[in-house]
């Protein structure tokens, strides 16, 4: 019995691996350069984590269902440009939201239908739609758009007391996503699809509809990320977001404990992952690492972090298997 309790605590520690990782990184950062953990900088880290977090939440659900979605890379650009162009052509904010969010949903619908109905693997489908979206964005945007909308500005860069509104919004969206993941059948079925697709099919889960919904969800998150970006950045070029945002988001998801083989992933972990990615970028900025080496260090930090986590997991497995045998 004692053994089993020991094993449980191991398992519980592992559940918080992303959070532990965050703590370790913050601790190391504090030693290296105290400016990093200054309150104002930490707020920056959080604000800069918001678009990553939103895209990552979409990516998490897709990964949980055993798929992958590359299209948010330029999907964010497309939605941002749609919003900006609507506003600049004299449309109301509501109109702009409809276009922007509509764009994300249509993108998700396209992905979902091609994957679900035509049966083309998600990797190729979303890679192809990424290319298509890039073309569409360029067709639509011929230059940098400068958006000044008080509501969007407040959303992107205002703050409520000491807390930036963007962070509040992401908190709210995350709470909703927690609800969706835990309390709707959409969430349940997404996990089922990723963990054992055959079982889900045999249980009567409508597979095509479920897949369409999953990619629409990802498209919706893409669009929300675009809304926040437009609010915060205001200067929208057709290359806003792009591959680097997507890679950050997927890295965040995986650091947060989502398995890319489906079935596993949590909102809390994903958010932590987003903060970690944002923090690592921030640390490199604050330390003034040479631009040529930034990518190198980012890659190195991520590899070290994941290796530590994987090593930890292996240790834990060994401990637990020794415990039961």
């Amino acid at each position: 019995m004692d053994k089993s309790r020991g094993r449980f605590s191991w398992a519980r520690i592992l559940d918080f691996a992303p959070q532990l990782l965050l703590v370790v990184i913050v601790a190391v950062a504090a030693v290296v350069d105290p400016r990093i953990i200054a309150a104002a900088n930490m707020v920056d880290v959080l604000v800069q984590a918001t678009p990553i977090a939103l895209v990552a939440l979409g990516a998490m659900v897709v990964l949980v269902s055993g798929g992958i979605d590359f299209s948010p890379a330029y999907g964010v650009s497309l939605c941002s440009v749609l919003i900006g162009a609507t506003l600049l052509s004299g449309g109301s904010l509501i109109e702009a939201m409809v276009w922007g969010i509509g764009g994300g949903v249509v993108l998700g619908l396209f992905n979902g239908l091609v994957i679900g109905v035509l049966g083309i693997p998600p990797f190729v489908t979303t890679f192809a739609s990424l290319t298509i979206v890039q073309g569409l964005t360029l067709l639509l945007a011929t230059e940098t758009l400068i958006v000044q909308n008080p509501t969007l500005d407040a959303l992107g860069s205002g703050s409520f007391g000491p807390v930036p509104i963007a962070v509040l919004v992401v908190g709210l969206v995350s709470a909703l996503v927690v609800g969706v993941v835990r309390y709707t059948r959409f969430g349940l079925r997404s996990y089922a699809l990723g963990s054992n697709a055959e079982a889900a099919r045999l249980s009567g889960v409508p597979m095509v509809r479920q897949q369409v919904l999953i990619y629409v969800f990802s498209g919706l998150m893409t669009a929300l990320a675009a809304v926040l970006l437009v609010g915060r950045v205001s200067i929208i070029a057709p290359n806003i977001g792009g591959i680097s945002l997507l890679l950050d988001a997927i890295t965040a998801t995986v650091i947060g404990g989502t398995s890319i083989f489906g079935g596993r992933g949590s909102v809390g972990g994903t958010l932590t992952g987003a903060v970690i990615v944002s923090l690592v970028t921030n640390i490199l900025r604050v330390l003034g690492v040479d631009p040529s080496s930034q990518e190198f260090f980012k890659g190195a930090i991520i590899i070290v972090a994941l290796s530590a986590e994987a090593g930890f997991r292996a240790l834990q497995n060994r401990a637990s298997s020794a415990g039961t045998r």
Binding site: L107, L136, L139, L140, L145, R232, P238, G288, P291
Partner: protein, 378 residues
Amino acid sequence: MKEHSPQSGDDRRWSRRAFLKRAGMTLTLPAISGGIAACGPFAGGGGQSESQGGDEGAVGQGNKTLGFAMINLTLPFFVRMQEAGGEAAKDYNVRTVWQSADGNIENEIAIAERYVQQEQDVILIDPVDAKAFEPVVRQAEEAETPVVTMGNKVEAGWNFNTLYPDYENMATVARALATALDEKGQIAFLVGSRGNYVSDTREAGFKETIEQEFPDIELVSVQPTDFDTAQAQAAVETWLTTYPDLAGIASVSDPLVLAAMNAAENAGRDDILYAGHDGDAEMHPMLKDGSMVIDVLTGAERVGYWNVAVGARIAKGEKFNKELFMPTYFVMADDMASRLADRGLEVDAVTPEEATETAQSYAEEFGPDQPSSAMSVG
């Protein structure tokens, strides 16, 4: 602060009708693509008919074709460049083809090689790297296809280089910013991405000038942005909290400066001086109110128009030197220019108003009615 919020009179570019047309297109295209996807393996025809129209137009008029091999067509500068290039093509009655390498150097070479194969009349390359394009220029030489390399000097003998003095211009920008700051204090610099020739050259010009000539100016940080305004904004946000005394921000490209201003505005900072490059019209209000010290007018539109003009003239048999220089202008408000002059820095600059005129009058500056000599200074 509000008065220099970077809102410009750009609404004209975004008429409601144009937007609806474009947005409509954006949403119908997936449907069309889907349609193509549904009708089976002969969709190759979809792409084909699309272009035939274009081809016919070209062949029908019997005019020359210029092939552009670009690093990237998604960046704002290139987007504008291509737009103005289109105008030039109309004025010069040539057809232009613009293809993007998406940042991949092998792709760009492949595009250039295909242009040789396709017997384009002139090939214009915006080279990721000067060395790497020597082999393909030699290929073009064998096919006797003229080549113009843009913005980055390729020494292969055969090609024309269309250049503007990036390094020197950025050195002047550095001097202007430093002088405006009384030659002391902390500044930071936003670059595009490492390995990008234009960004690297401008960075070197700026950085080396500051280091050599202004010992009391501290360049605290250089951040890469991938030319993405969102990343630029994030970098500046970090600076503003990490370096509370930051007094100046410069960048290799104007949209990044806009993002920096936006970040500063959000942080409630209105005491920072900016300096940029490109000469975008959006910067004029800030030049006038004194928050922006200096800008360099190359002008994406001018660059686009100029290169097409040079290409078209070469195609039609005009003779040029191997190196052509496009006149660039420093843009400064009058009071800023006199302030700097008081402190001993004379910069031969135009006012924002003049710059607007110059930037928009590229069609006259490099139009078909001009003599060959108008294509280059010096």
